[in-house]
């Protein structure tokens, strides 16, 4: 266990922050210096995420990092418990899994941005904001402190909105920026209010400490409601999804991919609160059914709205919303049956959590490919595109892989996780599975339409293939999609199952790692 492994959790946040603070300074020395700097920062971050994940998956219990002190971070109480006084990072298998997803998407997005933003103004500030967004997402996923979670939530909100409105010459991007910022702020305030209530009631801010103290009191229930509303809003679950298509649709293409990771980090916060913070107190069955209801609504609304879009970015944005529904469905089924029939609840959890990784890879791929498509055809309107397959062979192939994976066609990765969800939700109630499968088929129809409109047909104008700098990140994601689809068992055993059990049955471990006993 060397020093780098010990400090990996905090360095995962500190290194991108350092990069973000220094990027505008380094940018004074020219674009290539900046690209080399940002590239090495993000590569180092990715390596750290891998290192930390390997360590945590091998450890079998949460990794605790005390910020600002080595000796004794807690005050013993008369009752034998102790209150942590410092901010703690607590990384269990679920956090490490999320960090891997974020590292993958951030690497691809940043790499792609180098070419994508080459001809545009404000590149220094753009890359600074992208690194800030990445650092904030890592912070949300690794922290073990409620208020710290809120602070990083706000970092991601503001960085995301700065990026959404970055193309100031597009009037829709400014409208979207205002709208998204207002709703993000509202969701942040809900979370802050809940943190205040919990602090006022229990006198602590650490998640493990709060988890050992929350009961079914009125204040605790109000706090739970506020947290669920706020985080569901930030994750983009229907009926609080109104910001999501604007955000994904108006942001620059590589940013949309990272925004998906941001939504997933909020979803991670939601799961952490349901399973760890309130795991022992709430009536999980009823909550599971509420989650399932919202999941079905999200799937239905997302797919239906995707069906009627003519703008390629908004179409992908709505399909991204529908995928959030699949994750909620998997975890909701797991929550609903956790007491009664745990054997297929665990399968459902595997499906929901595996789908996070798969969704990040294939939605990210689709957004990157759509960026190349829009760049080449000069329009976002599907009716005005056509014939891109003639000249853009690679982009066409990558888009096809992403679309098929998203629609759940075997042998790609979307099928692997969706099959687990279908299987387990069928055993809970066949209707759930039927709705989920129907939505997938509709999604396939949507993408057949897109493919036909944008890539097939006669070549309408002279286009060139996307630059190598944009193709390589797409290739990385496409290879990830294919490998995840070909060897799902390997990944489920190695990384998904530990992550699922960290939520499902790891609550006691999570609390004991901090409070002892």
């Amino acid at each position: 266990m060397n020093a780098l492994t010990v400090h990996a959790p905090v360095l995962l946040v500190a290194v991108p922050l350092l990069g973000a603070f220094a990027t505008p300074l380094v940018g004074r020395f020219g674009r290539s210096a900046r690209n080399v700097f940002v590239g090495s920062v993000i590569l180092f971050t990715g390596a750290l995420a891998g290192l930390m994940a390997a360590h945590v998956f091998g450890l079998g219990e949460p990794l605790v990092y005390v910020l600002g002190g080595a000796d004794g971070f807690g005050v013993p109480l008369p009752s034998g418990m102790q209150v942590p006084v410092r901010i703690l990072f607590e990384v269990d298998a679920m956090s490490a899994f999320m960090a891997l997803i974020t590292a993958l998407v951030a690497l691809a997005g940043t790499w792609y941005s180098f070419s994508y933003w080459r001809e545009r103004s404000g590149g220094d500030l753009y890359h600074s904001l992208l690194l800030l967004l990445t650092a904030g997402i890592f912070g949300m996923e690794l922290t073990g402190d409620m208020f710290n979670f809120f602070v990083f939530l706000e970092v991601t909100s503001i960085a995301a909105c700065g990026l959404i409105g970055f193309r100031v010459w597009l009037k829709h991007s400014q409208e979207a920026g205002f709208k998204v910022m207002a709703l993000y702020t509202l969701s942040g305030i809900l979370v802050l209010l809940a943190v205040g209530l919990l602090y006022g009631e229990h006198g602590g801010l650490n998640i493990a400490y709060l988890a050992s103290r929350v009961g079914g009191s009125l204040v605790d229930r109000i706090a739970l409601g506020l947290l669920l509303t706020g985080l569901a809003m930030k994750a983009g679950a229907v009926p609080l999804h109104m910001w999501a298509p604007d955000a994904y649709g108006e942001a620059p293409a590589p940013t949309s991919a990272v925004l998906v990771a941001n939504s997933q980090a909020s979803l991670y916060g939601l799961f952490r609160i349901l399973f760890t913070l309130y795991g022992a107190t709430v009536s999980v069955g009823a909550l599971g059914w509420i989650l399932i209801a919202f999941a079905l609504l999200t799937i239905a609304v997302g797919v239906t709205m995707a069906l009627v879009q003519r703008d390629i970015k908004r179409l992908i944005a709505y399909s991204a919303v529908s995928q959030i529904g699949y994750m909620l469905l998997g975890v909701g089924v797991g929550l609903a049956v956790s007491v009664a029939r745990p054997e297929f609840g665990r399968t459902a959890m595997h499906g929901g959590i595996f789908h996070m990784l798969n969704d990040a890879a294939c939605i990210g791929l689709l957004f990157l490919a759509s960026g190349a498509v829009i760049r080449a055809s000069g329009t976002r309107d599907l009716n005005k595109m056509g014939g891109l397959a003639h000249r853009m062979g690679w982009t066409t192939g990558f888009f096809l892989i992403g679309a098929l994976a998203l629609a759940g066609v075997p042998p790609l990765n979307g099928f692997a996780s969706k099959f687990l969800i279908y299987e387990s939700s069928f055993r809970l109630s066949p209707i759930l599975a039927v709705i989920a499968i129907l939505a997938s088929i509709m999604l396939l129809a949507v993408f057949v339409k897109v493919f036909q409109a944008a890539f097939l047909g006669p070549a309408s104008r002279e286009v060139g293939e996307a630059s190598t700098g944009m193709l390589v990140p797409m290739a990385v994601l496409a290879v990830t999609v294919v490998i995840l689809g070909l060897f799902p068992g390997f990944f489920i055993d190695r990384i998904v199952a530990p992550a699922a059990s960290a939520l499902w049955s790891g609550r006691d471990l999570y609390i004991r790692a901090i409070l002892g006993g």
Binding site: R86, G122, L125, F147, V151, F152, G162, G200, E201, V219
Partner: protein, 91 residues
């Protein structure tokens, strides 16, 4: 129609908030203060600072403050990015 639904929802949420606030624990008597008493008792010894709030802000919860500084930095970068000089071919 939509407006009246929002108004009913608003009345509901507002009444709920006021009710929740009035049924909070009594003002001026925190039920659990072990963490804060630790700060008050030990800030001078551990951090060597007379101002306990500053000790909390920059030492015990220093990482929050880094996040807060980051938020401000992000907002400044965002505002500067919005008001930057764009290129002619972009407009």
């Amino acid at each position: 129609m939509k407006r009246s639904i929002v108004f009913v929802a608003f009345l509901f949420v507002g009444a709920f908030l006021l009710l929740a606030a009035s049924s909070m624990r009594p003002f001026g008597a925190p039920p659990e203060s072990a963490m804060d008493d630790y700060f008050i008792d030990n800030a001078q010894r551990e951090v060597a600072a007379n101002n306990v709030v500053t000790a909390v802000v920059f030492d015990y919860r220093g990482f929050d403050t880094l996040g807060e500084a980051t938020v401000l930095f992000t907002a400044v970068v965002g505002v500067l990015a919005l008001f930057r000089k764009t290129r002619e071919d972009e407009r």
